[in-house]
């Protein structure tokens, strides 16, 4: 690829990303009344999307081979218990990550 072609390719990726981020704001600008259906989606979608993001973040873990997702499941359980117990965001995230690192480096 020439430098010009590289710039066009990267430009296309920038354009695609901008479209997906701005689209709802273009279609439903602040002055205009948002349809009830879209407002409904705005309220119920986040909970589902956070579920999707949890799954997305572990999408490449192999269940049938390797460690069978055991370190991931243990560490997600640790994050959940820690968070329900102390409800301190940074503590839960740091605790779960250290737990996972210890498991994959020393146990599995």
């Amino acid at each position: 690829m020439t430098t010009a072609q590289e710039i066009v390719t990267i430009g296309m990726v920038v354009l695609g990303t901008v479209i997906t981020r701005f689209l709802p704001f273009w279609v439903f600008p602040p002055g205009k009344k948002t349809p009830a259906y879209v407002s409904f989606l705005g309220k119920v979608l986040p909970a589902a999307v956070f579920g999707l993001l949890v799954v997305y973040s572990v999408k490449d873990v192999e269940i049938l081979t390797g460690t069978h997702a055991v370190p991931e499941l243990i560490s997600i359980a640790a994050v959940t218990l820690l968070h329900l117990w102390k409800r301190r965001m940074l503590l839960s995230i740091a605790g779960g990550t250290v737990c996972y690192m210890l498991l994959v480096q020393f146990v599995f």
């Binding site: 997906t20 709802p24 119920v44 979608l45 909970a47 589902a48 956070f50 999707l52 993001l53 949890v54």
Partner: protein
Amino acid sequence: MKPRNHRMRALAAAFPYTVPIFAGFWFLGLTYGIYMNVSGFGFWYPMLMSLTIFAGSVEFVTVNMLLGAFNPVQALAMTLMVNARHIFYGISMLDKYNTAGLKRIYMIFGMCDESFSINYTAKIPEDVDRGWFMFFVTLLNHFYWFSGSTLGGLFGSIVTFNTEGIGFVMTAMFTVIFIEQWLKDKNHLSALLGLALSLLCLFVFGPGKFVVPSMLAILGVLTLLRKPIEKAGEQA
């Protein structure tokens, strides 16, 4: 209150929320920079791409695009597919990102998974300006990703301590955000649907192709269940 003062207050309130992103983005950014480095690109590639694209997963994909044949239409189509989930973030943020001007445009431009998740769920104190808080969350995240990617491109091959598993910080963060949303909601149907349908689509379509089917499934089922969900919401 002086304008400078309330900006500093918003920055101070935003920073603690972004600390896990700092860890995650430096790790992922370094990885991305190293990946570009070993693929034969100078450090200015990850530097400029992290600045202009600012969407982690698609930037990894772009490395392969740059190594392949020139195909701008495919580059655009691929990006729209990988990043389609951002449309859901926008729909959820229509009311929250309601400040005017350049600040709003930047916040929408920089709405990656992490900025959206924090800005949607954060309990912003009463005396902190909401617009500036969300602006600084976005700016800090952008800066972590940019600096991590650039350093990876520059010095990536020198890192020697054992970082295996540190990428789990992102899973831990999304799990915490999921729990926070769960504790806030009275009705957990949407959260359970999100988990179950995404897992189902992951098994059926595989890691590379499950996001768009998951989104369509979530959208379809929530639309079908709109009446009962709204009824339950009124009773609660």
